[in-house]
Symmetry: C2
Subunit: 170 residues, 2 copies
């Protein structure tokens, strides 16, 4: 049920239309919480029906600009402070590792080499993104920077691990 919280979170920053939010999901949230257009519009309708957000303005082409309501902000804070994050996230990358024994050693190493490359690319993309942003000391900058740093460290860790792992296979 985190999609609704992701939407509330984005709307807590500033009012936005479904279309605006979709763009945010495709960029900053893409690596953390992917969501489709279909899902976003459906959930916005439900949130508005529940009074957690309101239609603050209507624009051209049927544009509806949503704003977070007091109840929505309370729900967002409740989620952040009172509910525990899920520990288990599915990782098909790691799941595959368990079964590499059915492949020939060189195929298993090739898989791990692919992970090295994926991690390098991921790291580089984030590095460029970090460079392109003019970081201030507002909330978005501070927490955006923290999330981005996680990505950098994660990719570096995975790269080193995959290199080490390839060396374990004889």
């Amino acid at each position: 049920m985190s999609l609704r919280h992701a939407l509330l979170g984005l709307l807590s920053e500033r009012p936005a239309s479904g279309y605006d939010l979709l763009k945010r999901f495709e960029t900053s949230l893409a690596t953390v919480w992917p969501a489709t257009q279909s899902q976003i519009y459906t959930e916005l309708t439900k949130l508005a029906a529940g009074g957690l957000i309101t239609v603050a303005a209507e624009g051209p082409r049927g544009r509806k600009e949503y704003a977070i309501a007091d109840g929505g902000l309370a729900e967002l804070r409740h989620w952040l402070t009172e509910t525990k994050p899920q520990r288990n996230t599915r990782s098909d990358i790691l799941l595959r590792v368990f079964f590499l024994g059915v492949l020939k050693p060189e195929q298993a190493r090739a898989y791990l080499a692919g992970l090295v490359e994926m991690s390098e690319q991921g790291h580089e993309e984030l590095r460029l993104l970090a460079e392109s942003i003019d970081w201030g000391d507002d909330d978005l900058s501070v927490y955006g920077r923290i999330a981005l740093e996680y990505g950098l460290r994660f990719n570096a860790m995975r790269r080193e691990w995959a290199e080490w792992a390839a060396g374990q296979i004889r």
Copy 2:
């Protein structure tokens, strides 16, 4: 669609019943690919209907022992070598970080402190697990060890990151 591959992977090691497989999902695969009893039994029926696995033996209490068929092994190898792993995994842990700005700084730091603790616990659990296993040099040992090492490094990385992040919040 990775549940079917997880099942094929486990059955490639040795024949097993739905019940046996459920236990494997609750232990070794729990952190990587959680699955419920309901899901497992349903998928096994489908895999058997598709000829990717067979009922190799029947035991007491209606026990059905499944074995992987040639087609299933081919499908498993195809998945491992020809399909790309998903990059984006949802992380509600990281999603929350984006929105910590709606909390008071001390609440945000408390959240990150919780992540430090979670990572320490995760690390410790894996360390004990690693100690308790008698590692050989068979496939399962080699790849199981590699997957476990990932968990250790991941938890260490996350712990250090969360500590650093808490220091970024004024």
